[in-house]
């Protein structure tokens, strides 16, 4: 076979894949604008499932609004805790040495190779039997999501620490800065891209999270959007469910775009190479 033919065959596969991966989602989004009750048979365009219907539309239904609110609160609260915790852990674990360093690094990467269902059920058992002071619901979901996303913050920040190296801080120390000043004025500002990237990654992870949030939920008061979708997908739910899912996609992408924008602005201002490609690599946790 000639190189030409195999290349065009590969191109065919890639376009096929893109269509296969995106078209179902696009169709689901389109059906949120369906005029009828059906999520499968098109009956004309309308906005009734977005806001026109006073009880059932996504923006007017109390339970759906509640789910959106819960999702956002959970994601933001997780960010507030996991970001400082993760940055500190990344710096500490990268610079410790000896056996304790091995222990900390092992402990930090263990959640990355543990399926969510294992973390979720272990935490469920812990909160109902051992640490019974933690009530199921928002608090438990928050602790669970912080635990599960801590590792990704550490990975992202540690990668940045590695690429920065030690020379900048050493130079600052040589010029008379204290250790703390070197950290505060040299290292921390340079960590910004990784902090931005972890904010975006964690936000998206938490807002999409199903397993942990579901295992640790306590009824309707802590129902998030993915839980709502899960419990009603197979039933006779209206296209408002599609609208709800679409809203979740919009929220994720808004966060992503804001994050990418902030990243590339920072990079440009600080004269770092990269642009969109590097920013994308950051937020997809790809090595670059």
């Amino acid at each position: 076979m000639t190189a030409q033919r195999s290349t065009s065959r590969l191109a065919l596969i890639i376009w096929g894949y893109i269509i296969w991966s995106l078209v179902p989602v696009v169709i689901a989004i389109i059906f949120s604008f369906n005029d009828g009750r059906s999520r499968t048979v098109w009956q004309g365009f309308s906005l009734r499932w977005w806001w026109q219907d006073p009880n059932l539309s996504v923006l007017q239904n109390a339970e759906m609004r509640n789910a959106i609110f819960n999702s956002l609160v959970l994601a933001v609260a997780t960010l507030l805790i996991v970001t400082p915790l993760g940055i500190a852990l990344a710096i500490g674990s990268q610079r410790m040495h000896g056996r304790s360093a091995n222990f900390v690094q092992g402990l930090t990467s263990a959640p990355l190779i543990t399926p969510e269902i294992v973390v979720g059920s272990a935490l469920l058992i812990t909160f109902t039997r051992l640490l019974t002071a933690v009530p199921l619901g928002f608090v438990a979901q928050l602790l669970g999501n912080v635990t599960f996303s801590l590792a990704s913050v550490v990975v992202i920040v540690r990668a940045r620490l590695v690429s920065i190296g030690a020379s900048f801080e050493e130079a600052a120390r040589d010029l008379g800065a204290t250790r703390w000043q070197a950290l505060r004025f040299v290292l921390f500002p340079m960590l910004w891209p990784s902090v931005m990237a972890s904010l975006v990654v964690v936000f998206a992870t938490v807002i999409d999270d199903f397993v942990i949030t579901s295992f640790l939920s306590a009824g309707v008061s802590s129902e998030t959007v993915p839980l709502r979708i899960y419990s009603s997908v197979r039933g006779g739910a209206t296209p408002a469910l599609n609208a709800l899912a679409t809203l979740l996609v919009i929220i994720s992408f808004t966060a992503l775009i804001l994050g990418l924008f902030a990243l590339s602005t920072w990079r440009k201002r600080n004269g770092e190479r990269g642009g969109l490609r590097a920013a994308l690599a950051d937020v997809t946790q790809m090595e670059n």
Partner: protein, 398 residues
């Protein structure tokens, strides 16, 4: 260092540093196990359940704020709830449960903390009482209690109705699509249709181990829905495994959505689901596509409403029980839920004359005669329960 030592050290150090208090509390609490068995009432041996606390006092004001309900999905009319909210100036939120066992487990471990539980039946009542999760009712808040079907005002499972007020009544049978299955298919042993490979992939059973295993027992001619006979239970498990291999069934409680949507042809389910299903019919589909086979010998029962011991709004919970026991409110509630309210005034004739019930579903209505002929289904002693669950796991593990 061995793994055990490691774990112990880990627990000791981390527990001491962080959550020492609650760890110790949990350790202390875990050793206590209640002794004695369950208080199980049967039609032959009705029971007056033990009471450990007093009911709330008479004439308390309604709480302001939120009333939390624990209920099955789609088992209360949102319009009825809205009226109640307006009338009592409160907010009602609802959490959902899928099976009684899960609900009880989650009530015990604190996942659910509702004020009011709807739709529980006496298969779960003994455990609820043993776990001391309920509070006795103060009937002075429930003048409508007199509307309840007279035979259910002093039920065998809860003499003097100390804890419970009946909610809906139903019987177990088979819902089907009349456009795909002929009525005569159920002529012989009607249950056999569930084992018929021609319905493979279009068939579902109830996700309720007590109901579905009992169904398999009835098919085999054993009509004790509370049997402790290991051989009978195992046989039912074997038969369900055979059913699974023959027809690849789904196991859920979605008959009321999936039958009208046309996603399945036949579904072992609760009779009331078929009336719920009416409003899920796609536009342009006639209601008589839904049919129900009501076996001669089957389980017929009621579920009930009860107030939790830890209720934060016990007065509102009583008020909602009273509200739903009012005839007009119950009829409005039925419009959405579909099931038959357990009220004396809401007779089968009244429902038929309302014109909402197609000819094909008249058989799904529970008449007083059918109710009386129904097989009772009560709580099981733990050892027998374990046998039932073991067979159920065998079936659902595929």
């Amino acid at each position: 260092m061995g793994r055990r030592d490691f774990l112990r050290n880990l627990a000791i150090t981390s527990g001491a540093i962080t959550f020492g208090g609650s760890l110790l509390a949990a350790c202390g609490g875990s050793t206590e196990t209640e002794s004695g068995g369950l208080s199980i009432g049967t039609p032959q041996n009705p029971i007056k359940l033990p009471v450990t606390t007093d009911a709330i006092a008479d004439g308390l004001p309604n709480e302001s704020g939120t009333l939390e309900i624990l209920n099955w999905a789609d088992y209360q009319n949102p319009d009825s709830i809205a009226i109640f909210e307006e009338k009592f100036g409160c907010k009602v939120v609802t959490s959902i449960y899928d099976t009684e066992e899960a609900a009880i487990a989650k009530l015990r471990n604190g996942t659910f903390k509702p004020d009011l539980i709807l739709g529980m039946t006496d298969t779960g009542l003994a455990k609820l009482v043993a776990a001391d999760l309920l509070q006795p009712l103060n009937k002075s808040y429930i003048p409508n209690f007199g509307n309840v079907i007279s035979g259910l005002q002093n039920p065998y499972y809860d003499l003097e109705s100390q804890y419970t007020v009946p909610y809906f009544i139903y019987g177990n049978g088979i819902g089907y699509r009349t456009d795909r299955i002929d009525k005569n298919a159920f002529a012989g042993n009607g249950y056999d249709t569930l084992w018929d490979p021609q319905f493979s992939g279009k068939l579902a059973l109830l996700d309720s181990y007590r109901d579905t295993l009992a169904m398999a027992m009835f098919r085999a001619g054993n009509f004790d829905a509370n049997t402790t006979d290991a051989a009978v239970i195992t046989k039912a498990g074997d038969d369900l495994v055979a059913l699974r291999e023959a027809t690849n069934p789904k196991v859920d409680i979605l008959a009321y959505q999936e039958l009208p949507a046309g996603n399945r042809d036949i579904n072992f389910t609760w009779s009331g689901d078929l009336f719920t299903a009416l409003q899920y019919l796609p536009e342009g589909v006639k209601p008589d596509v839904l049919g129900f086979w009501y076996p001669d010998k089957t389980i017929a029962k009621n579920d009930f409403m009860c107030v939790t011991k830890a209720a934060k709004a016990p007065v509102l919970a009583h008020q909602l029980i009273n509200f739903l026991s009012d005839t007009d409110n119950a009829l409005l509630n039925r419009e959405y839920v579909g099931y038959q309210p357990a009220l004396e005034s809401i007779t089968v004739d009244l429902l038929i004359s309302s014109g909402t019930i197609p000819e094909s579903l008249v058989d799904a209505l529970v008449t007083p005669e059918k109710y009386d002929a129904g097989i009772a289904q009560v709580s099981l002693e733990p050892q027998a329960d374990a046998l039932w669950l073991e067979q159920w796991t065998r079936f659902t593990a595929g």
